[in-house]
Subunit: 432 residues, 2 copies
Amino acid sequence: MRNDLPRVVIVGAGFGGLMAARALARAPVDVVVIDRHNYHLFQPLLYQVATAALSPADIAEPIRVVLRCQRNATVLLDEMIGIDPEGRAVKTRSGTAQHYDWLILATGSRYNYFGHAEWPSRAPGLKSLDDATLIRRRALLAFEEAEGASDPALRQRQLTFVLVGAGPTGVEMAGALAELAHATLSRDFRNINPQTARIILVEAGPRVLAGFPEKLSAFAVRSLERMGVEVLLDTPIEAIDDHGVTAKGGRIEAANVIWCAGVEASPVAQWLDVPAAKGGQVAVAPDLSVPGHPEIFVIGDAAFVIGPVGTPLPGLAPVAKQQGHYVGKLIACRVRGDPVPPSFRYRDEGALATIGRHSAIADFGWIRLTGFVAWVLWGIVHILFLIGFRNRASVFLNWVWAWVTYGRGARLITGEMTTLAVESRSKEKQEA
Amino acid sequence: MRNDLPRVVIVGAGFGGLMAARALARAPVDVVVIDRHNYHLFQPLLYQVATAALSPADIAEPIRVVLRCQRNATVLLDEMIGIDPEGRAVKTRSGTAQHYDWLILATGSRYNYFGHAEWPSRAPGLKSLDDATLIRRRALLAFEEAEGASDPALRQRQLTFVLVGAGPTGVEMAGALAELAHATLSRDFRNINPQTARIILVEAGPRVLAGFPEKLSAFAVRSLERMGVEVLLDTPIEAIDDHGVTAKGGRIEAANVIWCAGVEASPVAQWLDVPAAKGGQVAVAPDLSVPGHPEIFVIGDAAFVIGPVGTPLPGLAPVAKQQGHYVGKLIACRVRGDPVPPSFRYRDEGALATIGRHSAIADFGWIRLTGFVAWVLWGIVHILFLIGFRNRASVFLNWVWAWVTYGRGARLITGEMTTLAVESRSKEKQEA
């Protein structure tokens, strides 16, 4: 690394951060990518890890491998804990201060439990690989514990899954859990019938997949119901405890509650000491820089940007990727002294959401697709966008195999599983 | 499950336990398989998970899937904590007592640290999937921390791997770590050269792979040294601390120590309250039953059996499988009232050990193979023996891909990684 080159620090190696790094590949700068993890995570398929269809390695690629051939890029496994805008340095957990000339904050979002401190442990969200393997462990253990339980009420509670929030993650999880319970596991137990498992999708608002046109939302509900998912609309959750949820209109006894509701931006506004917009995001200038700091940019889920149709841009991969590309090019132009591109403009690439084994919805504005055609399109798009050839082949193989057999490739209960399983069961015995 | 049928309880779903269950498929009995995990683990490939070549799901198959079509078999996720031979019941952690008419104990072995209570946390062994992902996390973090370290001594310590014990696991781990450091990671870092990593295989005895003929041991040492592994023979370890090991003849500074030395049987003798043979094993009768208890059998690593050539049978998969098959058939005959087979006789199927990317040794008694031919044979045998088609295809695909690219499919640092990484680095900074 040459010390005389301008130093671009990128925090976060998600879709936005990696795209920014790549856009700077030929620029006369040193690029430093800082991430808490050693891998880039393909978040759109995270729900498949949580439902035992894919392995963690299928949807994650080491950042060092992604940037291996980009000689001006350095990767640091570290966590940002603060920013010193005056001294132009990022503070990290390891204790080093990373100096920057340009800073790109692509730190994404995290789950928002609306101030309920006790909800995260009872209803884990789905943001990281560790979240996904935790949800997988709990879901698979629930079936094991139901198999070992003798009290019918206790058994049904173990077999009840409540998904809070009917956005894309909630809908995908509901469909995948329904398949797991009603097809994959159906012949594997002797004392319980996994097909009696209840998958309940609870949404506070009036419809599922609110980002899609109403007709597509209605199609999604019909698809889910055909798969055996119970959809409860206009049903805000009031409380979550160890035995279930209390919602408007009643109580649901459920051992498995998964949080798919709100997200908020990572605390970028706080780090920068600027006022936060809706959801903790930073309202950035038209060139995605932080007002008052032309050398600091915020992209992806953490940025508040009004889109071409007058609404805020959603927290989706295409938004982050386009913003990363734009900011990378902008910095390259500034460093070279070339004319800079005008303000960032989002190009809508359409939206896709999958529901189950053979159903999805797609909205490209000029055309809307539902059902099997949309599902095939969804599969192709997601495999093409996976970073790294091997993962594509492995995911494709797993999907074909799962499609043919209804099998699941990654039905492992790992971690502190045993203790958790048997102790909670023996605890319940004592209670019963 | 019909309650009037004799009940066969099998504890442990490794190679021996599963083979016993299958041998009872057509017998008029109820089979209950109890295991602490929900999967059967293909232990011979565990070192490939520890060195980031395979994912956990590639070498593990849910026990319920393996036994799905065997209608007389029930699977329980639970842990045996004691046996009541008088009452014919197995005590489990969940608090249930499992009655048996016949009991097969196939509980395997665990690492033996020879009474050093502080060694397991410093030098993890390789027995379970959780062990493998722990070793993978530590090894990958070591390279990350070396990349962030400025002190050359500290950096070299992070890049030094000591493998204690040169049995099959130690030799396989050494070869796989050498490939990881010297090929896979070679272009991924900017501040360190992973090729400077030292892989040191330390053996207390006079040669590696002591179960093989001397000529093959010598071949293995030459193969390892060509791969850059340092082999230290006649070098017992005297102490292990957080910064390395003290061996006879000197001190090795190493952040990574992996225990591949002795194993001991699971505490079956203690549970049964019978005297333990060498290594905690139970010396069983010629029909593998426990002396004084013709209804209790011990098979696999936990059983002490003298083989046809007068030496004790080793703790290998073929031994466990043949014993499981024999005991299953024996019980089926007893239940039906058929004449029982004579005493168990081991049929030697030969032994294989792999060293690296293109070298292995094979000993079939009448023929000995070394090098590439043995390696191809090793690959074919291990893929054929993997349970479940999908795993075979997935492992084969990963191997072909790794072979062509030197890439590793599962280079993920998951779990409490970040904290571990950056905190230990900041701690070292303070010390420095």
